[in-house]
Symmetry: C2
């Protein structure tokens, strides 16, 4: 298969691309982007139709990377807390019936992991785990050079049985302690509790608007609260990494997402904690390194997955 | 390959077998067993030589299932807290040089998982995880009908970041809260702290000798302490199962080891906890069931792995 549409469906934006495979590998012909809200299924259709209209070649399939738990065999999005309106959608049925397009679907972090494998930081490794560190935490697992087509919801593994409530319904998930959301919530809570921090005067005192980058900048300026919050989140990430290492004995962990901007505080703390906690015989050989493809990893991975799927 | 020696190396015993593959599948010609201590490497050699002496057919390989972290590609036992004297042993080198036998090596729980896949409770599933619930907790993962040849040390994933100290050096590992060792330690500690229990009068008052079966029997007789200890361990196991479900989205979890004797208290508590904690969309389709092969799962699995390895 050589001519396809990719859709990257996230909570904020839906990105579509027209992708062609040629001699030099994958070529992106055209890229579109639209806000996911208020009606994501309409956006999906508008973007698809826009690419179909403009295409001079025959497009025969669509490859979807989506934030949520999928059933790749049936083409269904089972669960997606951030795009609740799409939960239960049978994308395969939709695209086959409406556009006569073959459809494959995969979780966005899984697709990103495979993208890094074929064209990014994972090229030299047979066994690695990718973690997306943003609003939430996602995972993708490559073993023997192949993507494990499992849920890989590493952000929703419990690392602290009595930990904070998670939107998924569980408590103590890795995501509740190590994501950007967790970092912001903790910083706000500390300020509300009267702890001193330069973050208090952000946005003319409306510090509730702070984002993870603000916290990182404050930490670089020496703000102790900001440093502590980032380091503690890093330690929690380190526990998650130790668990991943003890289960998958990978050659590498590839990190991506907005939080890796705080590498020298947050990720460094994670590496120290993981080194203390995982089996020495395993962690000592693991390389921890950043993504090379960034935002294009999902698009790349899902396109290659589609090209390899019968 | 049709004619091989299997070795199942555990902390207490080393079991050897002469195995032949014929039309009807695997046939065990002869079984031997010897205590692991005091010199495990000598026991390994004695058992191997004994089988080689008695064999009328040409044996060309040895397949080793061992309690510990292995490097299957190089044939080395990297780490084995319960058989420390074997740590670092290059089994492939030993068997090739000394006996001119081809050698494959795998972790015991991994081998057991593959045994259940080819001839036991896993036959009807493409994706499942096996957990061995005994003195420690081990894991083996089968995806797409194939064994994932990774560490799979699910017993050494952290589920409680500030939990009890684990012999592995970490704290809060699943094993420290849900294994037979954990159950016994907790019961003894509760009695030492003055809590009432029929367990106190076991072994003429030397309750330090109690085992997990004693606790289960007391629980069946209505002993509240014994029931609480088993249920709490089950809850911890349930957290481990929830994590496994959210990562591997398996069709089944297969449980084996001495602790499944307490199924109606311990495993039932685990199932309830996992159902509360894992994604509903995933846990609702997971079957949780006991091993069919029991102690022979490792032997079976490692023999089949050897027969399929070039």
């Amino acid at each position: 298969m050589e001519n396809l549409i990719t859709l990257d469906i996230g909570g904020t934006n839906i990105r579509a691309a027209h992708v062609i495979f040629g001699e030099g590998g994958l070529k992106i012909v055209r890229k579109l982007k639209q806000a996911t809200s208020p009606e994501p299924i309409e956006v999906v259709q508008q973007l698809t139709e826009s690419i179909l209209r403009e295409s001079t070649k025959d497009i025969d399939s669509v490859a979807i990377s989506v934030a949520g738990i999928v059933n790749p065999k049936e083409g269904i999005l089972l669960k997606s807390p951030n795009i609740a309106k799409l939960e239960g959608t049978n994308f395969r049925k939709l695209f086959e019936e409406r556009y006569h397009l073959r459809c494959i679907i995969e979780n966005d972090a899984n697709a990103a992991a495979y993208g890094e494998k074929v064209a990014g930081a994972g090229r030299e490794f047979e066994d690695f785990v990718l973690l997306t560190l943003g609003t939430g935490i996602g995972g993708g697992i490559v073993i023997n050079g192949r993507l494990l087509r499992v849920a890989a919801e590493i952000g929703h593994t419990i690392i602290s049985s009595e930990g904070p409530q998670c939107p998924c319904g569980n408590v103590g998930c890795l995501e509740t302690l190590a994501s950007a959301t967790a970092v912001i919530a903790r910083a706000i809570s500390e300020i509300e509790n009267g702890n001193q921090s330069a973050l208090r005067s952000l946005y003319h005192g409306n510090f509730y608007k702070m984002n993870a980058e603000d916290i990182y900048k404050a930490a670089l300026d020496g703000d102790m609260l900001a440093r502590t919050v980032l380091k503690d989140a890093g330690k929690a990430l380190g526990i998650g990494i130790a668990n991943v290492v003890n289960v998958f004995s990978p050659q590498a962990i590839i990190l991506t997402g907005g939080m890796i901007g705080a590498w020298n505080i947050y990720v460094e703390a994670a590496i120290r904690e993981a080194s203390r906690r995982a089996f020495k015989e395993l962690i000592s050989r693991v390389k921890i390194l950043p993504s090379q493809l960034g935002d294009d990893a999902g698009l790349t991975g899902i396109a290659y997955l589609a090209s390899e799927t019968e």
